[in-house]
Amino acid sequence: MSLQIIINGIALGSVYALIAVGFALIFNILKFSNFAHGSIMTASAFLGYLFAIKTKLGLFPVIIVSMLSGGILAILGELIAFRRLVVRKASPIYYFVSSITLGSLYEAIVTIGAGPNFYNYPRFFKKLVISIGNIVISRSDMIMFLTSWLALGLLVVMLAKTRIGRAVRAVSFDRGTASLMGIDTIHHIQLAFFLSGALGGLSGVFLGINYTLYPQLGNLVTKGFIASVIGGLGSMSGAVIGAVLLGLTETLLINFIGSGYAPVFTFLIMLVFLLVHPQGISGSNVQEKA
């Protein structure tokens, strides 16, 4: 059933792509790996869950609430963990520790609030699967796939075509010069955090639907990191390609050798890939500037 595997793999890969792109956004603008991304994912997925339980609305309002709360959490995080570092022009290692700590903080808050239990999203669909011929596509996979690509497409259009997107790219390219050109850098850094958090929220909901919801859900962010390493750190198109490839490989591995050993093999693949082609698929990783 190879076509089936490919479809499942691409659906999984599109969620990984959301994670990887959210991560790459922050990496581009502040040049550090945002390890708080996973916890923002978890926290916004939980907020979406609460909303779903309280209001009993459908999937799309839940997605919107999660994306908004993800964005707000990310902006809040920028304020408490990174703002002073940006102003001080601190060395990258401080960003790193700050992001890990922020991640621990959010995870601790979720753990205190939710306990170590597992939660399930309510069932959003009456019919769980759509079958075309002998291929079975689960509805959640389908929506996952469509929404992810819609979100990524909108993001690309925004970054490439609009004035704000251009400003974000300018700030990513050179913060000092951008601010000399009259761009409010802090404002655009906040915007990037909001976008990244919103993508995180979206991926959080999908992961929560696909697996279950628990405080350590954010550990799945590792997949996004691996995808961006394969794609080339800091490159968005690379991240998307890497994520889809990772999704496919993982689905194949799970099919042939079982889910237990899959992380081992994905790690080995990443390691070999880094050895032979360290600049990633996109061919341009960010070099440390003088």
Binding site: R84, I93, T101, L105, L233, A262, P263, L274, E288
Partner: protein
Amino acid sequence: MELYLSVFTFALISVVSVCGIYVLTGLTGMFSLGQASFMAIGAYISGVLVVRLNMPFWPATIIAVLVSIMIGFIVGLPTVRLRRDYISLVTLGFGEAITALLNQSVQITGGAMGFSGIPQKTNFALVIISVIISITLVAFLKISKYGRQCIALKSDELAAKAMGIDVPKMKMIAFLLSVGLTAYSGVLYAFYTTYVDPSMFGWRKSAEWVIMVFFGGVNSLTGSIIATLLLSALPEMLRFASEYRMFFYSVLVLLIINFKPSGLFEEFELSPAFIAKLFKKGNKNGVINATTDRKNQ
């Protein structure tokens, strides 16, 4: 009394691993989020060798540390040439892989149920001796040529390269040394608790160590060690608040990073020269710790 002794022993075992983290993060400016997995490797290999193959303690320890260093070499090989972000991301993936491997190999390691029945070989004296040896090792490394090269590449890799420092090699040495120390602390840990399971060695543990180093001061070995003792012993005393532990840690460290980025102890070291200076007032030759670069703050 028994309880306090065991809490203190655990804190001291953490000091051994934090010495390793200090070499990696404090001196070289790299972050490993899979460091706890090297602790797991040390613990499991020595445990399996002793329990399943009836090997004596010391040969098992040496084999465990050497194997960890070899694995560390494979993990480090592709990453030391790249930006320092890569080592954190790759070690994070490594941690996942090791956890999966330990969970799967049920016959050898007991899987998720944990590995029990390890004889208790670690006692307080052994831990104290290990701590003294590792602190001395790291302290001498810091003031040696290698340590100064590490500090140089931490502030600016490109400039360090231009001064003729072999950056990938230095990064590899620092990584392997820290892997060795962490694996050894894993051995101590396994033979103290007599039981290990894969969930003890997640990336949160590695992150906790990094946090300890930063809390005490990333440029101060003394600070890192005191912070470790403080941060790992206090929560054990306040067991009832274990849920809030990570919360307080995180708030504390965010405060430190925002308002006192060089940590509690900044660049202070409790060196013999400093002690001598305490007794001989007015002697200004006693400062040997000015090697760290202010620019890095």
